[in-house]
Amino acid sequence: MTGEARELKPYNNRAWFMVLPVFLIVAFSAVLPLMTVVNYSVQDTFGNNTFFWNGIGWFKELLDPNSELGGRFIDALGRNFLFSFLILAIEIPLGIAVALSMPRQGVAVSISLVLLALPLLIPWNVVGTIWQVFGRSDIGLLGWTLTGLGIDYNYVSGVLAAWITIILMDVWHWTSLVVLLCYAGLRAIPDAFYQAARIDGASRWAIFRAIQLPKISRVLVIAVLLRFMDSFMIYTEPFVVTGGGPGNATTFISIDLVKIALGQFDLGKAAALSIVYNLIILTVCWVFYTVMTHVENAERRVQL
């Protein structure tokens, strides 16, 4: 037996019975509705609240790329992954760069922290509205300037323009989060590390690779997972700016889900789609939770 194994004590779980009243509320507001979704996913209805057993029919249709529903699902899923990949590819390096160039002491720290936190405090639909107006060529500064420069920019009709707009919007909204996380990680590095590097005559790049990057790698994992989950569930901002268009170019799963569930009132299809969507997000959440607790446990062991 190693020392590590001996320090793990058995949990006493009796206190969990105290949360039973809360469990009743959660059951009413979350568990039962979730069970209803599973129940709808195996049934079909022609309205009038009359349901028919459909087995795994909706799932078959959903996972068949040649069917109408399956095609929509695969396309939207692809757009979701592309969007998440693109914003991560921009926000993570940009966030690290900004965090590295931030002041380390004095009033400037507070000023930059407040400025950076501002976009994080703006609600999603307001960010969407800001960019919806900002990008218009008649009354928006961005659209007006680009059109004035002779660039064909119109997020209502151009697929590329629409994508660039929503990606810029997300970068504008959420890069600060990555910056703040990285900055916190950087601040935790003791000065001794930098002094040693100075004595060794290490270059700026060497300091970054050997000291800073390893020390912020854990917060970076958290930042990547947080931003992935958030961007994978995106709904409000593209809904406000592009409404899922032009055509279906920016229709993400969540937007399609609302169209199917409330627009067409296809409860079975929407239920099957949301279960698969939920499973993907649940998996990422689990990874996120595991990484977080793993980091905590590792820190606790270091302290002991």
């Binding site: 949990y11 195996v42 799932f59 649940l282 446990n297």
Partner: protein, 105 residues
Amino acid sequence: MFEWFSAIDIAWMAWTVPVAIFFGLIAVALAVLTVLAVVRPEKPRRGLLRIETTRGDRFFISLLGSAFICIIWIAISVGLGISDIQLWGAMGLGLLYGIAVFRYV
């Protein structure tokens, strides 16, 4: 005394027997885990994934993985052009996967 209870009509929820069995089994499993946690407190252990897991963690991983096994099973069957898809095979695979998770993770 229980008149108000019998007056509640939940027919509009359109519950079905298979879904009831599915959630019933999960509820039983959770109840068993709860009782086990009190009667036989456990130590989290490290297995194949190098992370600390308790029985509850392993149950969650088993359920989540089995759901994906079923989805992939349906997707492959649809891809092969099978029209009458049976999930018994996926269920067996999920069960094997769950046993493996409880033994090795």
